[in-house]
């Protein structure tokens, strides 16, 4: 089995290095094909590992070699495939296989075709390291690695100022969180003497709660950055500057869920500190609502989906924070499927519309893009949590978990957010695919995507439809590892809740259709009443948070840097050094006259010296005399 572990892990690396060889050459179709095949190889190996885990329940643990060893520190490159990591491996390799194949079509005309696959496969490799590592340091390698690849892929079209800006923003914001994670690692090491999961988890039980709380907080700060939780969330929406397959893979299905994975992986820690867990759940719930509210009005198709990702990540943290780790993982898995599907669908639309992103400028695309329409509707139904699609099972369990834990506020907010989710998802579908064909005003001739791209998307479609029935087998698999238990609510009550939720979601969908799928929709021009309302302005400007960051953090930082350089470094520190030097120099210059060799000058100086020495002698004499008495 170890063989498959190494294949699953290193096939993406080989793929990346292979594509790297051709980065400076024009497009070569075979790089895309070879890369995709290697990723699919990784998928197959992961599936073999999954069946092994399902059959035997025995985790596979290998230690490849030593990475760092000094003092008491020992960090190997060690890999662990257990129920949790194999789930993540399946998610990662499945979505990335789809995205790789899809990208062959999507990046068809791009100059950087080869470079794209090099980055994309490098990302998959980093992600595999992240989920397969058997220690926190290894996780951190993957953690930073995905950050790097995210930087490279957001800024893939580096001629665009907005893209490179967004790339740097994402990297730096993630770095802020990474510092938290690093401190968490330091705390773990100095308290337990190891960074290996098994060793650290065993030692956690002996540590005082205060220490554990700090560890939990710092690790979660790391998770907040990767998973774009408030207040480190702004990068995710800006990250939509990257090519759409990237958004599907990195900023929806895999990388952003790394934070959730970290919490799930450290569940032995978080179950010891439920108060931190409650904080995580509360923050997650807040983000779910907060992000959904921004998605309501946004006029950028990709940003709407990005906010919905943010909102769903909030759901996952809510579940994980409440101790329902398996539910969080299940929602992560289901979400990866339908959200990637939605993004790739959006990619088809963008291709058809010549990179137009405003859904108000589309409309009626159903006729030309039937398959994309079907996929996006199913993806949206799954996202909205309509029975029997994927999101229904996962989201409903989160609600149950909140309810049965008596966290009524969390339950209420999440339920309300489910309605918002349904509304904005179908607002998007209605605006893009139904109503008048507004795109004709802009002289665009849309067309359906390549057949093979649609076929490539089909596994995701399958996931979005059928993943619900896997809930029980999934629970059976991870139950033991994650100390999971099923949530039992009294039968009638459960039925009422179910019907109520479905009704609520259904109404939201209906409302979205009524409001946006009609022929009266015009391209907004900023004059309508709603566009001038305070709430709209607040939401469209993302609560003015990016503005505040720019105004109160970025600018002051830049000004302070200038000040430090121009005023402190040049005018104070360096000027002092030069000042001392010039005092010495000038003293030399001035006193040089004394040594002119002119007898009368020298005699005059001699007299001066004599007087000074004599007076000093007298002063010292008196001082000694009087102080001595």
């Amino acid at each position: 089995m170890e063989k498959y572990l190494y294949i699953a892990l290193f096939a993406p690396l080989v793929s990346s290095l292979f594509s790297l060889l051709f980065t400076a050459t024009p497009k070569k179709l075979f790089t895309g094909i070879v890369a995709s095949l290697l990723i699919i190889t990784s998928l197959i190996s992961s599936s073999i590992l999954l069946t092994h885990i399902l059959e035997t329940g025995e985790p596979i643990h290998v230690t490849m070699m030593t990475w760092m060893q000094t003092g008491g520190l020992y960090i190997p490159f060690g890999f662990l495939v257990d129920q949790v990591s194999v789930t993540m491996m399946m998610v990662v390799t499945l979505v990335s296989s789809v995205v790789h194949v899809y990208a062959i079509g999507y990046m068809d005309h791009d100059k950087g075709f080869n470079r794209f696959f090099a980055w994309l496969s490098a990302f998959v490799f980093s992600m595999m390291i992240l989920v397969m590592s058997d220690n926190y340091a290894g996780l951190f390698i993957g953690w930073e690695g995905v950050g790097l690849c995210s930087w490279g892929l957001i800024g893939f079209w580096f001629h665009k100022e907005s893209a490179t800006w967004a790339a740097n923003e994402a990297f730096i914001m993630n770095r802020i969180a990474d510092l938290g994670m690093l401190i968490g690692l330091f705390l773990i090491y100095w308290n337990t003497g190891t960074l290996q999961y098994d060793g650290a988890f065993a030692a956690f039980h002996q540590l005082p709660t205060a220490t554990l709380t700090w560890i939990g907080i710092f690790l979660f700060i790391g998770a907040m950055g990767k998973s774009a939780q408030f207040p480190l969330h702004t990068w995710l929406a800006d990250a939509m500057e990257g090519p759409t397959p990237v958004s599907a893979l990195i900023h929806a299905a895999t990388m952003v869920t790394a934070g959730v994975y970290l919490v799930i992986r450290s569940h032995e820690l978080y179950s010891l500190i439920p108060h931190v867990g409650l904080f995580i759940a509360s923050l997650g719930t807040f983000v779910a609502l907060f992000a959904a509210s921004m998605a309501l009005v946004n006029r950028d198709m990709k940003r709407v989906i990005a906010y919905s990702t943010l909102s769903q990540l909030g759901y996952m943290f809510a579940a994980a924070g409440l101790g329902a780790y398996w539910v969080a993982l299940f929602h992560l898995m289901a979400h990866a499927g339908f959200k990637a599907l939605l993004f790739l669908g959006a990619g088809n639309v963008m291709h058809a519309m010549k990179d137009e992103l405003d859904p108000f400028k589309m409309g009626g695309l159903k006729k030309v893009m039937k398959w994309t329409w079907i996929m996006m509707v199913i993806g949206s139904l799954a996202l909205a949590g309509v029975i029997p699609f994927a999101g229904f099972f996962s989201k409903d369990t989160i609600l149950e978990a909140a309810y049965s834990g008596n966290h009524m506020v969390i339950y209420g907010v999440l339920l309300f957010t489910a309605g918002l989710t349904a509304f904005y998802s179908f607002r998007l579908v209605a605006l893009i695919f139904h109503g008048e064909e507004r795109y004709k005003l802009f002289g665009v001739h849309p067309h359906e995507a390549y057949r093979f791209m649609l076929v490539a998307m089909s596994p995701l479609l399958l996931v979005a439809i059928v993943v619900g029935i896997l809930q029980t087998p999934f629970f059976d698999m991870v139950e033991e590892v994650l100390n999971g238990h099923e949530y039992h609510i009294e039968h009638t009550l459960a039925l009422i809740m179910l019907v109520g939720t479905q009704l609520f979601v259904g109404l939201a969908i209906l409302y979205a259709y009524v409001k946006y799928a009609n022929s009266k929709i015009k391209v907004p021009d900023g004059t309508s009443k709603i566009e001038n309302s305070f709430a709209y302005k607040l939401l469209i400007n993302q609560y003015y948070i990016p503005y505040a960051y720019e105004e109160y953090i970025v600018k002051p930082y830049r000004e302070l840097s200038e000040f430090f350089w121009q005023k402190i470094d040049v005018k104070v520190v360096d000027a002092t050094v030069d000042g001392i030097a010039s005092i010495i120099y000038n003293t030399g210059e001035k006193t040089r006259d004394m040594q002119s060799g002119n007898l009368s000058t020298m005699l005059r100086w001699m007299v001066v010296g004599l007087i000074i020495l004599l007076s000093l002698a007298v002063i010292f004499g008196f001082t000694v005399k009087y102080s001595g008495v």
């Binding site: 580096f158 740097n168 510092l179």
Partner: protein, 519 residues
């Protein structure tokens, strides 16, 4: 030969440099490359013959110079100095190979070979006077490199560099003389041998004064805030090769000397001054990173980034535990490779455009994709991405210091954020966007000769990031013995507490929790 390999390493380049005067101009480059290659191979032989299991000094040579005062020509290396010597030979070789069209190339090569002599001498010396001699001699070739081949302000920059560091080292010399005097008082004989000094336990107040004297000399060399202002001038005016060697090797003399002298000689003082020095290190990290962000000249960005990295090295050194000190030594190598590489890369673009202002560039990734890729890799190594050489050193240095202070480490850790800010901003300005400047439209990509200089550095930067063990192992052994020595010599309570006792089984528990430190 192995008995005298250190002497050969030191004097072979010097001798070759003297013969260099007789070589014709045309064949000088070949001659220089050949000499530097032999020197580099010799340093590799040294590594091959080095016994990884020995933590003490190896290849020791000892010839009395002035027996009456106990001054000996005494050499030896341990795991700490070994790799810096290899690195210096490596950089001299790469520097000469990738040397671009320089006026008076013959004299440049001769100067570089002399410089290599002094560098090998500093890191191999086991006698304070020998150490001091090479330490000061190293200023001379650098003075020439900046003063003769530098930019418009070269005279100012080179004299500033020389006088500033020279003034600092004089204070250090006074410290050395006192140290020998104290040794004489205690042992009855004169000795300048560092190993003899190691055995001397001084009272705390003597230690404090001597520590300060040494500190001034080292801190200016490193350079530590607020003694750092000579560095931006030196880098700004020095030719590429000068900056490369300065950043890669010469700055390491200061940090190396901290480990070789300050820690084992004055353990009580090191523990006493730990927090103030760490505060200086934190200032170096945050303040210079911000200054780097404000720079308009890409070479100055790299120059200031060097100071910030030196801050992390100092922090690791004064962690006073094996993790931190090993990390700081590893980071010395890492920073050498990465900063040296970055200076070389800046040189590539300077050769083409004769400007280093970022506003002159933009969109270089379109015209020079290979160059942009390599620069990107080195930049990421500089930012300290895992699996690159700098990460190992930074991680261990910060990890080590975390045992001493939560808050200072947290502050120093912001280096990974501010470091990313200035580097990414600089990269964005130079490489991303459209090509706006006409002059950049037809720039040739990085050529073979330049690749020959830079690719080995890229390989080392990744190799030692993925597999640091061959280097970290010997370092770890030698550092462990130093920490043991320090703990044994420590007299004050504070030092006993701050320097871990490695003879006892390790107990992993933070001495104070975050809550306590905050209160």
């Amino acid at each position: 030969m192995l008995d005298h390999i250190l002497s050969i390493l030191i004097f072979f380049p010097a001798l070759a440099a003297v013969f260099g005067f007789m070589i014709q101009k045309e064949s000088m480059r070949t001659y220089g490359v050949a000499v530097a290659l032999i020197e580099f191979v010799l340093s590799l032989v040294l590594w091959y013959a080095f016994d990884n299991n020995v933590s003490g000094m190896q290849f020791v040579e000892n010839i009395p110079l002035i027996p009456a005062f106990g001054i000996n020509y005494s050499l030896g290396i341990d795991g700490i100095s070994l790799f810096i010597i290899i690195l210096s030979a490596f950089f001299t070789f790469l520097g000469i190979v990738s040397l671009t069209d320089t006026p008076k190339v013959k004299y440049m090569i001769i100067t570089l070979l002399f410089l290599q002599m002094t560098m090998a001498g500093v890191f191999a010396a086991l006698d304070a006077i020998v150490f001091y001699t090479f330490w000061e001699l190293s200023l001379v070739p650098m003075l020439y490199i900046i003063g003769a081949w530098g930019g418009p302000l070269r005279i100012y920059a080179s004299i500033k560099f020389f006088l500033y560091t020279f003034a600092g080292s004089l204070v250090m010399l006074v410290g050395m003389l006192f140290m020998a005097y104290f040794y004489h008082q205690a042992a009855g004989v004169w000795s300048f041998s560092i190993l003899d000094w190691y055995r001397l336990v001084l009272p705390e107040n003597f230690q404090l004064w001597l520590f300060v004297a040494f500190f001034i000399g080292f801190a200016i060399k490193v350079p530590m805030f607020p003694f750092h202002t000579w560095l931006p001038y030196a880098h700004g005016q020095a030719p590429t090769i000068g900056s490369v060697i300065l950043a890669a090797i010469l700055l390491k003399m200061g940090t190396y000397a901290f480990v070789r002298f300050s820690l084992p000689l004055f353990p009580d003082a090191a523990a006493y001054f730990m927090i103030p020095i760490a505060i200086l290190a934190v200032i170096m990290i945050i303040y210079t990173s911000m200054v780097a962000y404000a720079q308009k000249d890409i070479k100055q960005v790299v120059a200031y980034s060097s100071i910030a990295h030196m801050g992390v090295i100092i922090l690791g050194t004064f962690a006073l535990n094996v993790e931190g000190v090993s990390g700081s030594i590893f980071l010395m190598l890492g920073h050498g490779v990465v900063a040296g590489g970055l200076f070389m890369l800046v040189g590539v673009i300077y050769d083409r455009r004769h400007t280093k202002l970022m506003s002159e560039f933009g969109g270089l990734a379109h015209v020079m994709p290979r160059y942009a890729t390599i620069f990107g890799i080195m930049m990421m190594a500089s930012v300290g991405l895992p699996l690159t050489i700098n990460f190992v050193g930074e991680f261990l240095s910060l990890l080590g210091f975390y045992q001493q202070s939560h808050i200072l480490t947290l502050l120093a850790g912001t280096g990974i954020i501010v470091g990313a800010i200035y580097m990414l901003a600089a990269y964005k300005k130079a490489f991303f966007g459209e090509v706006t400047n006409e002059a950049n439209k037809n720039l040739p990509d990085i050529n073979k000769k330049e690749l020959f200089g830079i690719i080995p550095l890229v390989i080392v930067a990744i190799w030692l990031g993925v597999y640091p063990k061959p280097v970290l192992g010997p370092i770890n052994n030698s550092v462990t013995s130093i920490i043991k020595l320090m703990h044994a010599k420590a007299t004050t309570e504070l030092a006993k507490e701050r320097i871990p006792d490695l003879t006892k089984p390790r107990v992993f528990l933070m001495k104070k929790t975050i809550n306590k430190e905050v209160n």
